[in-house]
Amino acid sequence: MRLGLVIDMDTCVGCHACAVACKQWNTSGTTGALTDYRPYGEDPSGVWFNRVRHYEVGDYPNNKTVNIPMSCMHCQHADCVNVCPTGASYKRPEDGIVLVDQDKCMGCNYCAWACPYGARELDREDGVMKKCTLCVDRIYDEALPPEERQPACVITCPAHARFFGDFDDDNSEVSRLVRERGGVKQMPELGYKPVNTYLPPRITRPIPIDDVRANRVVSSVKDWVNKMVAR
């Protein structure tokens, strides 16, 4: 089994609900609290397993906003596990999930250095490295109804941009999506073989901008006059 996520960059609206749901589930999950520093201060910070970043792709007017949520890719060649001197970081052979044994971690940060995707964050309060568990304390929980045995981020996504499944199974939803939508991996040239796969934005009809008024001298003067008069 090779469990992981498919994230659709076409439908992701960048609402950060997955990041918040992740924080909510995991702060009371098996990896302990995701500590917040100065939560009510001017510059609140803290440990997150999932972060959403926003990019502009292409040049105006052929540009587009793309939101990229990122968590652990559960790489097939996980260098974070290889470099760990204590054996705290490990990759489960049965499903490929990369985890940290917090009882063994000495907080040297070396695994975070080895991760190209920024998936690992040191909890300065506990002094140990923390990371996405793919909700391992949820996906195997037989007390939950089967449809809820998925990572918190996948269940919560209002845009249905996140999918969870087994990449080794050619008939799984994730494998089918990757096949049909041409799934891509981040920084494949580093050779980490990340499992999590991203679906590129679909090529859609152009949004007409003919009706957008051109920025001419007459219209500029009109705008200026209107502004002045209103005040």
Binding site: R53, T86, G107, I203
Partner: protein
């Protein structure tokens, strides 16, 4: 990379200690140079072991969970950090047997302590190599991911060790032209290797914001990192010193680390009092300390690409090429280019 002060102290001080031990073993066991007195042998040995131990104590300074430090010996099979820890500790019994031989038998030690001394010197080189490989094996930091990294660590350790070796010898009135000559050769070799490293990293390439975000056929700009304050990632990897700071420190590395010590030894060779070798030792240690700071400050982790860096070498502040969103272009024909398939990075590779 954020330069951790404890790691700078550890690698510089321990490196000099291992270098000093390598010089001691080479001079004593291979019979190079003048015969050393009992006291001088012990002084070199105590100084090298003291520096190594002091450095190793400093090395635990950056650990967030020190009580688990003993576990760092567990993953010898895959981790260079673990290998460094194992070799650093394995060095002690062999150096101890050699030191005990010197303590009990003086300069004319028996074959067993001599063999232990040779093994300890080899382990010292291997430990320096492992320290370099901790950084050299990381594919995420292109400036470090080169064979020059471990080569630098070994050569800088030997060079600082050689200046200390010459300086300590002056205390016993035993410093010869050979001491100064060996130190000069080691310093010049280290300076050349470091120069090649700086040349190499000035033109290193690797992942870009395009391969990081999967959009290989379009300009990609960061709009928002999604957090209002700093994170662990920006603290650890966002370190961005000014270009002129880097240039000034680099000047300091070469002047204090290499040029000044070489000049000191050159003046000793042309008749100046041997005692000024201590100036060379202090100067080289300060210079190599600056070199170690620069080693971290110039290293750019690829996670910076997600925080707006365009390539794995430039700073976060450097803008992307191409037109920006605020350009007042309203040519309707531009929109039709979508239909012609000229899409902005619609599908990556």
């Amino acid at each position: 990379m954020h330069p951790a002060f404890s790691v700078i102290l550890f690698t510089v001080i321990s490196g000099a200690g291992y270098g000093l031990f390598i010089l001691l073993a080479a001079f004593h066991l291979a019979g190079i140079g003048p015969a050393m007195s009992h006291g001088e042998l012990l002084a070199h040995g105590v100084a090298s072991l003291g520096l190594i131990t002091l450095g190793l104590v400093f090395s635990t300074g950056h650990l967030a969970n020190k009580k688990n430090a003993w576990r760092s010996f567990m993953r010898f099979k895959t981790s260079w950090l673990s290998r460094e820890a194992v070799f650093a500790v394995l060095f002690y019994p062999f150096a101890g047997i050699y030191g005990l031989g010197v303590l009990l038998q003086g300069a004319a030690i028996g074959p067993l302590p001599a063999l232990a001394g040779v093994i300890a010197a080899v382990l010292a080189v291997i430990t320096l190599f492992s320290t370099g490989m901790i950084y050299g094996c990381l594919k995420t930091i292109r400036q470090w991911n080169t064979a020059l990294t471990p080569a630098n660590y070994i050569m800088l350790g030997i060079a600082t060790g050689a200046t200390l070796f010459a300086a300590i010898a002056t205390v016993f009135g035993n410093a010869t032209t050979l001491h100064a000559g060996v130190a000069m050769v080691a310093l010049v070799a280290a300076a050349v290797l470091k120069g090649i490293y700086y040349f190499w990293i000035s033109r290193v390439n690797g992942p870009t914001i395009n391969t990081a975000t999967t959009f290989n056929r379009a300009t990609v700009r960061l709009l928002d990192t999604g957090h209002t304050a700093g994170t662990f990632l920006t603290d650890e990897f966002g370190y961005d010193p000014r270009k002129d700071t880097i240039d000034n420190v680099k000047m300091g590395v070469f002047l204090l680390g290499f040029v000044a010590p070489v000049l000191v030894f050159a003046s000793i060779l042309s008749g100046a009092p041997a005692g000024i070798a201590w100036l060379a030792a202090v100067s080289s240690l300060v210079g190599i300390g600056m070199e170690r700071w620069l080693f971290f400050a110039e290293a750019k982790h690829v996670v910076r690409l997600y925080h707006g860096a365009q390539t794995c070498t430039n700073s976060l502040a450097e803008p992307a090429r191409g037109r920006t969103t605020v350009a007042p272009v309203t040519d309707p024909t531009d929109a039709r280019r979508w239909e012609l398939g000229d899409t902005p990075g619609g599908s990556g590779s």
